[in-house]
Every structure is written in structure tokens, then in C-alpha cells.
């Protein structure tokens, strides 16, 4: 007998085909809208057509009178139950249904619950709301202008539209660094508003059973346990009587982390009607009211020495939060982890000043495929780096290399105070440059320029913090950011694993089993993985910010090790030797002096129920709560080449090379899938995804005809490469990966276009880098801002 072959049993490193696919390819996924409960009613939301207006009156009498209408909820109904406002995940409040004012276009004003969704929609149209329009604010300068209308007049001690002022870093040290600089490179950037837009919109089915007092909610949520806590606090229901079930989710990308008014309204409706109430958001509702992302303005400065070294960083960021500060982010940090910027560069001093403002736009600030503003941080970083290299007249790859943290410099304290622990930054850059044929491309570019063709190459290199906590620093609403796994080994050696995470396409049912296979030698196919039901899963903080593998995945390894420790005692009993003489190889324990004498893990499982040692607690089950000692720090190098058509401003991607170092890869196939998905969203943000507002606060980009997502036709092909630097503190050496490409990617595209325009005097074009913006830049030699308001109609 020998150890089992890890790849054969679908362990770590196997590109195991996904278990969950078996139902998805048959059309048998179980998404919220697929669930039908007996007696279920349907809810529809009436939204505000205006961005800022006082509500003078609401007349719902015609809606009430329509056949099939069971209930109409307005702000007044909610207020009578103290539910007109709810707390956000960032210690602000958000209107569930508007009472006094509407503060953004699309805000929830009333809900109709009816026999079917068509009737509910008809009845919404029959509700008459009398609005007194107020001036709308759509950007921070309007918001901060003297005499600007006060958006949050509902709050005490809120004299203006400022949400917060926050700073981090060493102001004085940074000032000194700038005083010593040979050159200061400055750039102003805007990371525009974007929307995650998973293909499945948000939705809920609330099912309150009066006879048992139990409330069951089927919900499109990436974090069911946080929602359970929130419902307990908002609705003042006992937590054991709340069951949140997150079934299959049709993509999340951060959109499905917050608590939305529709969820709360459907819960109240079910409690009042004592029937299940389903709410399925339509796409316009999704785009205009739920978790937007980004919308941050930056003034960035780098203090440079003539030899290329960066001496200091200054960042001044202004975040447009919309009408309510509802970012889902660790409570300690007001502008997320913006200060993770420049973590891969060896820079002594940095200072970040951040201000958040209210505007008449949808709330959100969700981490769209992102760890809390890391996407903005890395975009700003890499745009600043390219501008600085250009200002110095230095090669952009060489400039990065000169400033990289070196392989032997870990652990390394970043300029803003994070601790990075591992990486081979120079190697990743080399692999990328080699793959793209850097020197050859530079020659090709020069030749092409002689014939009037504009070629460009853009590089983006970054390390980002994935996998919050540790719990010392990371919490949401005070709840520490750890995660969990529970493993039950049945007597036949088959197993059930549950975690506090929640897959939305990441393939947890496949990869978690691979970790157990790696730790215990059980075939992955013998392990059933379940997530998303708060009545059965151990408490965890859910899946977002690339934290599943770093935290819940680590918990899976740790619970497996607890099981193995107990199995070892059982093995000693079965082999009739002392525990010290027991050795482990994958799938079996054996006698150190007689390797052929051993017992399999399956035999130990059977013995745990049928032949345990005297005094041992029966069974083979355990649970692990994992609080990571640090974040994980994957590194990535993305290189894009483009050709810009000077006649039209259209730019085409020629090649896209991605080098990712996410440590040990559990399932390479799934990792590559995550990278390609992220690259596509990076391309989308750089190229086409655009939500903006006109002067009245009308949302432009309220459906997929206006808010463009890339199709198979536009999306470029990807060339993927890997470097592996194991995470030193993660039990299996893995780092987060889901968001890396979406975080680091956008700057590579923009840098490529800006490189093609080098020499024209244009320093920046805001995303999306639309052809008309490139054309305008080429015509004027001026930067192009994309900040709202946009002019529409005949304005």
C-alpha cells in the first residue's frame, strides 16, 4: 500500500471539472427566481423619476382598488413600523421607502404586492406621487459648492454634504520627500462610476410563518450570515428565527453584498400578509438603484529622483458616494483600502487625504470585483507610475523595476503601513515582457509611427491585499472578518463540508473538496460541499473581496487537519501502537518501522463510529474558524498592446499578456477562468461600461442598451502566464485571485492608449476611453475629462 495519487483523487493542482456544472448545463440551477412557494405573492417597486425632490403627497388609492393587489407599502407604512430607514454597512442610514424627500433617480418610493408580477407592475403605475423638484447634485464640486442644497437634511449634525474627511500616512515625512525631489510628477484622474451588473439581478422571497414565528428568506446574497444579523437588528426579530438561504447566484461581483430596500420591503410584506412574497428586480432597477462602484477623483503626485527612484507619494481623493454612504467595507477605513496603493514599490513616504461627499446619485460604493477601493487604488497607482516614467523620460518597464520591492526584502512595510510578505515582482515583469516581445514591439512601434500609425504598449503591475481579515483590523459593523468550515466524515469515508462563504460562480463545490482531498486523501468526488444556508452553515462573512480561498479555504484546510489529528489517534488504536509511532502519507496512516502496515483514512472513519478507542468521543466531525494572520498579497503584471486609428479614435487590442502570481493554485482551470473573467471586466471598464448623469440627475446607462457590456465579439483574446510564490502564512500557500485582473487590468489598457498618444501633449483620457474621447484628444492635444454632468438633448 502507498499514498494515494493526489491528482487522481482530484486534489490540489488538479484541473478538476466542476461539480456544480452538472446542474447548470442542464438548466437545473436553483436561482432565487426559480423558487416557487405555495401561496406566493409578487412585489414590484415604484421608483422616483426625479433625482432630488420633496414628496408632497402619495395617493395609492387607485392601486389599492385594482383586483389582485394585496398590499401597498409607502414610506408612511414603513415609518409606522420604524422601518422607513435602515442602517447601512458603513454606519450611515438609508431610506427603505422615501418619506420626506427622494435623493436619487430610481429611489424606492412605494411597493405593491399582488397576485402576479404583471398586476403588481400595473398597480405601481397607478400610484400618484406629487413631487416638488429640487436642484440635483451630480458631482463633488457641485456638492461642495457654497450654497449647495443640503442632501441629507434628515440627519442631525450634518451641516453640509461632506460624508467624511480621512487621512492616512506620514504627512510631514511626505512633505520632506517632496522638498528633496528632483522632479514632481502630477496627474488628475477620475475613476468613473461603474456597475457590477451580474446577469442575474437582485431578488428575494420572504416567507414568514406566523405559527412558528420563523422567517425564511431566499436571497441573492454573497454574505448570508451578515444579512441574518442585519435582519435581526433592523426588523428586531430573534436571530434563531431568521433563516437566510442563498441559493445559486447568477454572478455577484460585489453587487449582492449590501442590504437593499427591496429585501426589507419584501420581508415586511410577508410578515403583514403571512404569505411568501417574491421580489425580482428588473435590470433598470438594478442599474439605477443598487450598488454602484468607483466614482473617485484623484489628484496624485510623485516625488522623483533623477535616477528614477520614487521618494514620496501624495494622493488627494474625493469619493462621490451618492445619497447614502452604504459602502460595504471594513469599518476602520473610510475610503476602503485605497491606501494599499504603491504596495509593490519601495517608497519611504506617502500620504493620502480623502473626502467623501453626498450627491443625488444612487448609493453603493460596493467593491465591484474588488477589495474595498483597491481597484481605484491600483488604477491611480499605475496611471501615476506611467505618467512619472514619461515625465522622467524613462522606459516604463525600467521605471517599475527600479522601484519594485525586491524578493529578499520581505516582509515589507508599504508606504501606507500594510505588511506585504512575499512575491517575485521582477520575475513576473520579466515573464510578461518576454511574452509580449517588449523590445521588438518598441521597434515595431517606432517603425509604425513613421507611417502615421499609432501603436502603444501599456503595463500595469501591482500587488493587492486580498482576504480580509485579520480580525484585529477588519470588521464589518463590528463583526470580525474571519471565516469557517465544518467537516463531517461519515462512517463510509464520505464527507459533508460546509463553509461560511458563498459561491457565485467561483466553483467552491469543486475546489473546497480538492482542499479536503489534499489534506486527507479522500477522493474529491466523495465530498459534498454545501453553502449559503444560515441554519446549516457555520458562521462566516461570505464571499467578496477575493476572500474565499484566503479565509474560508484556509478554514477548510484547518478543519481537515483537526479531523486528521483525531484520525491519527484512531489509527494508533487500530494499529495497536502508540500515536508517536504513526506516520501519515496522503490517504493513510502507517507504522513508522513497518510502512506496509497501515490503515486508510476511510478505515479510520469507520472506526470512529464502530471501534473507537476507550474514552474517545465518537464520530469524526469538526469545525474550524479561521482568523488569518495577514492579508494575502498576490502580484500581477498585465501588458496590453493597442493600435489607435488616428482618423476615428478607435483603438483595438493587439495582444493581452497576463502574468499572475496567486501563490499555490488549487484548481488551475478555475484560477485561469477567474483571471479571464477579471480581464474582461477590466477591458469593459476601460472601453465601454459607462454610467453617468445629466444636469437633472437623470441616470444615463439605465439598461444594457446604454450601459454596454462587452460581448464575445469585442472581448480580446488572453495569453496567460504564471509565477508561483506561495503565501507564507496561508495553510496551503494560496492567495486570492478572483479580482486581480479586474483590479490591475484597467490601467494596462488606458496606459496602452496613452502610450500610443505619447508626444501629442495629452496626459489623460478618463475611462471609458471612448473613440470620441480619443478623437477629441488627438484634435485638441488636451486631456479629456469624463466627469458628470453630461449634456443631453438640446442642452
Amino acid at each position: 500500500m502507498t499514498a494515494v495519487d493526489e491528482i487522481k483523487i482530484g486534489g490540489m493542482g488538479a484541473s478538476r471539472r466542476r461539480v456544480e456544472d452538472n446542474r447548470f448545463i442542464r438548466g437545473k440551477g436553483n436561482y432565487v427566481d426559480d423558487i416557487v412557494l405555495p401561496g406566493m405573492l409578487h412585489m414590484e417597486i415604484l421608483r422616483s423619476p426625479l433625482a432630488h425632490a420633496r414628496i408632497k403627497s402619495i395617493d395609492a388609492s387607485k392601486a389599492w382598488a385594482m383586483p389582485g393587489v394585496r398590499l401597498v407599502l409607502t414610506g408612511e407604512t414603513m415609518a409606522a413600523r420604524n422601518l422607513a430607514w435602515m442602517p447601512t454597512l458603513s454606519y450611515d442610514t438609508q431610506a427603505v421607502l422615501a418619506t420626506d424627500k427622494v435623493r436619487f433617480q430610481g429611489q424606492e418610493v412605494a411597493c405593491v404586492i399582488a397576485d402576479d408580477p404583471y398586476i403588481a407592475k400595473d398597480a405601481c403605475e397607478a400610484i400618484v406621487v406629487d413631487y416638488e423638484p429640487l436642484p440635483a447634485i451630480v458631482n463633488p464640486s457641485q456638492s461642495l459648492a457654497e450654497g449647495a442644497p443640503l442632501i441629507r437634511d434628515d440627519k442631525e449634525n450634518q451641516p453640509d454634504n461632506v460624508v467624511y474627511d480621512w487621512e492616512v500616512g506620514d504627512r510631514e515625512g511626505t512633505d520632506r520627500a517632496f522638498a528633496q525631489a528632483d522632479l514632481v510628477s502630477k496627474i488628475e484622474l477620475h475613476y468613473p462610476r461603474s456597475h457590477p451588473s451580474p446577469i442575474e439581478c437582485c431578488g428575494s422571497i420572504a416567507d414568514f410563518n406566523r405559527s412558528t414565528s420563523k422567517l425564511t428568506v431566499y436571497l441573492t446574497t454573497q454574505a448570508p450570515h451578515i444579512i441574518r444579523a442585519a435582519v435581526a437588528l433592523v426588523a428586531e426579530l430573534p436571530e434563531q428565527m431568521i433563516r437566510i438561504i442563498s441559493p445559486d447566484i447568477g454572478g455577484g461581483f460585489g453587487n449582492k453584498v449590501p442590504v437593499y430596500p427591496g429585501y426589507v420591503a419584501s420581508i415586511l410584506a410577508s410578515i403583514l400578509l403571512e404569505r411568501p412574497v417574491k421580489w425580482i428586480e428588473d435590470r433598470t432597477g438594478n442599474l439605477i438603484s443598487t450598488g454602484f462602484a468607483r466614482d473617485i477623483y484623484l489628484q496624485g503626485e510623485l516625488a522623483l529622483r533623477n535616477d528614477g527612484r520614487i521618494l514620496g507619494v501624495r494622493m488627494k481623493a474625493t469619493a462621490d458616494h451618492g445619497a447614502f454612504f452604504s459602502d460595504a467595507q471594513p469599518s476602520k477605513f473610510k475610503i476602503g483600502l485605497m491606501h494599499s496603493a504603491f504596495a509593490c514599490y519601495d517608497i519611504p513616504y506617502a500620504h493620502l487625504e480623502a473626502r467623501g461627499v453626498y450627491t443625488n446619485k444612487a448609493p453603493g460604493g460596493v467593491a465591484y470585483r474588488c477589495s474595498f477601493r483597491v481597484t481605484e487604488a491600483m488604477f491611480f497607482q499605475e496611471r501615476m507610475v506611467q505618467a512619472a516614467a514619461d515625465d522622467l523620460g524613462m522606459d516604463q518597464a525600467e521605471f517599475r523595476r527600479v522601484n519594485f520591492v525586491r524578493d529578499d526584502d520581505f516582509p515589507h512595510r508599504t508606504p501606507y503601513g500594510f505588511l506585504t510578505d512575499s512575491g517575485q515582482y521582477g520575475k513576473c515583469l520579466d515573464v510578461g515582457l518576454e511574452a509580449i516581445g517588449y523590445q521588438d514591439f518598441l521597434k515595431e512601434k517606432e517603425e509604425a509611427a513613421k507611417r502615421g500609425r499609432l501603436l502603444g504598449i501599456g503595463i500595469s503591475t501591482m500587488t493587492e491585499p486580498l482576504g480580509a481579515g485579520n480580525s484585529r483590523e477588519y470588521d464589518i459593523l463590528g463583526i470580525k472578518m474571519f471565516d469557517s468550515a465544518e467537516l463531517k466524515i461519515h462512517m463510509t469515508g464520505k464527507a459533508l463540508l460546509r463553509t461560511g462563504a458563498k459561491s457565485q460562480g467561483q466553483g467552491h463545490e469543486t475546489t473546497w473538496a480538492q482542499i479536503v482531498a489534499h489534506e486527507l486523501g479522500l477522493p474529491a468526488e466523495d465530498i459534498l460541499v454545501e453553502e449559503g444556508d444560515t441554519d446549516t452553515a457555520p458562521f462566516g462573512m461570505g464571499t467578496y473581496a477575493s476572500r474565499s480561498t484566503p479565509v474560508a479555504g484556509a478554514a477548510v484546510a484547518m478543519v481537515s487537519r483537526k479531523i486528521r489529528a483525531k484520525a491519527r489517534k484512531i489509527a494508533a488504536h487500530l494499529l495497536e501502537i502508540s500515536e508517536e509511532d504513526v506516520e501519515w502519507e496522503l490517504g493513510r496512516f502507517y507504522v513508522r518501522s513497518q510502512p506496509d502496515r497501515g490503515v486508510t483514512i476511510q478505515e479510520c472513519a469507520m472506526a470512529a463510529y464502530s471501534n473507537m478507542p476507550d474514552g474517545m468521543e465518537p464520530g469524526l466531525e469538526n469545525v474550524a474558524y479561521y482568523d488569518p494572520p495577514n492579508l494575502t498579497w498576490p502580484f500581477a503584471c498585465y501588458i496590453v498592446t493597442v493600435e489607435v486609428d488616428p482618423e476615428t479614435g478607435v483603438w483595438d487590442v493587439l495582444r493581452l499578456v497576463a502574468v499572475d502570481d496567486c501563490g499555490v493554485r488549487i484548481n488551475p482551470m478555475i484560477v485561469e477562468g477567474q483571471i479571464m473573467g477579471g480581464l474582461t471586466e477590466a477591458y469593459a471598464m476601460a472601453n465601454m461600461q459607462f454610467i453617468t448623469f445629466d444636469e437633472q440627475g437623470n441616470c444615463i446607462g439605465s439598461n444594457f442598451t446604454d450601459y454596454l457590456l462587452p460581448t464575445a465579439w469585442e472581448t480580446p483574446g488572453f495569453e496567460l502566464h504564471e509565477v508561483v510564490t506561495p503565501c507564507p502564512h496561508h495553510p496551503i500557500g494560496a492567495k486570492g485571485i478572483g479580482e486581480c485582473a479586474a483590479v490591475g487590468g484597467p490601467a494596462a489598457f488606458v496606459n496602452a492608449v496613452m502610450d500610443a498618444l505619447k508626444g501629442t501633449g495629452v496626459r489623460n483620457i478618463d475611462m471609458p476611453v471612448f473613440p470620441d474621447r480619443v478623437y477629441q484628444a488627438l484634435q485638441t492635444g488636451q486631456d479629456v475629462s469624463g466627469a458628470p454632468p453630461v449634456r443631453t438633448g438640446d442642452a
Binding site: 427566481d33 416557487v36 446577469i199 460562480g505
Partner: protein, 173 residues
């Protein structure tokens, strides 16, 4: 009639016009009494409980609701159920045979052509329409044929590979 549309509130019944339709769905003739404004996607999902057909955008952009109408891919959220009266509709539930998966389904799994699975049924139906017409498509032909279907997870590269995998398998059969 289906459970969703069976219970009609007093008063609503008299006011609501209805029409009886018969549609062949995945080879089976099925009848229903529907409001003329009922969308085909909703008839399939709520009416016949064929929930593999998804709706994702309401504006015919995302293609998650793609089904085959007499063999042609259509977006079932943009057709009224009455427009399918007398026609043949194939949904994702009709792809697999009684004992084995369709090559397209196998291809999507083998090449990791799906992640969250929400766009997958529409994507596979559009792929079927392509392969029925063009059994040996190029990468560009696949990308063009699927350009009416949005996927947020995969970046499409593996979807292209999945369709090529299926084309090869169908050719070998």
C-alpha cells in the same frame, strides 16, 4: 393553466382577456390559457416550470432567455407567448437526450465555459443554432454568433473553446 396564473382575483377575471395557445415544447404539445401580453419567457418559466430559461435584462440585450423557435434562436423575453402558438420551442431542458448530455453541454463543462451558470442555457441554445447551421465554425464565426449573449464571468474564451469542443465531438460521432 399554471399555479401562478390559476388564482385570479375576483374582478380581475372578467376584465382580463385571455387566449388559449398550443406550443410544442421540447417535443411535447402543451396548451395554456394566457393573457395576450404574457411574455414567452414567463410562460416557459412560471407557466411550465422550465426555469432553465433565464431573464437578465428586459431589453433583449443579454440573451439569457434564448430559446429555439422552429430551430431559430430567439430571445423569449421579447416574444409574447401567443406568438409561439402553433410553433415549436426548444429550451435548454430539451438539449440532453434521455441518458446522455448533448455535446454542447459536455463541451461547456470540459472547457470550463461557465462559472455562475446564469447565461449558460441561453449561450448553449445560441451555440446549438450555430452548430446546426455551421457544423465547423471558426473562432470568429463563434464569437459573432454568440454576440447576442452576455456573460459576465468567463471572458468568452472558454465558451469559444467549448463550442469548438462540441463541434469536434459532433463531427466524430
Amino acid at each position: 393553466m399554471t399555479s401562478l396564473f390559476q388564482e385570479v382575483s375576483p374582478g380581475a377575471a372578467a376584465e382580463t382577456p385571455t387566449r388559449q395557445i398550443t406550443v410544442t415544447i421540447n417535443g411535447e404539445r402543451r396548451s395554456a390559457v394566457v393573457e395576450p401580453r404574457l411574455l414567452l419567457a414567463h410562460l416557459l418559466r412560471q407557466g411550465f416550470h422550465l426555469t432553465g430559461t433565464h431573464t437578465g435584462c428586459d431589453t433583449s440585450n443579454c440573451g439569457a432567455c434564448t430559446v429555439l423557435l422552429d430551430g431559430t434562436p430567439v430571445k423569449s423575453c421579447t416574444l409574447f407567448a401567443v406568438q409561439a402558438d402553433g410553433h415549436d420551442v426548444m429550451t435548454v431542458e430539451g438539449l440532453a437526450g434521455p441518458s446522455e448530455l448533448h455535446a454542447i453541454q459536455e463541451g461547456f463543462k470540459e472547457e470550463h465555459g461557465l462559472q455562475c451558470g446564469f447565461c449558460t442555457p441561453g449561450m448553449m441554445m445560441a451555440s446549438k443554432a450555430l452548430l446546426d447551421e455551421n457544423p465547423n465554425p471558426t473562432e470568429d464565426e463563434i464569437r459573432w454568433a454568440l454576440s447576442g449573449n452576455l456573460c459576465r464571468c468567463t471572458g468568452y474564451q472558454n465558451i469559444v473553446k467549448a463550442v469548438m469542443w462540441a463541434a469536434k465531438k459532433l463531427e466524430d460521432q
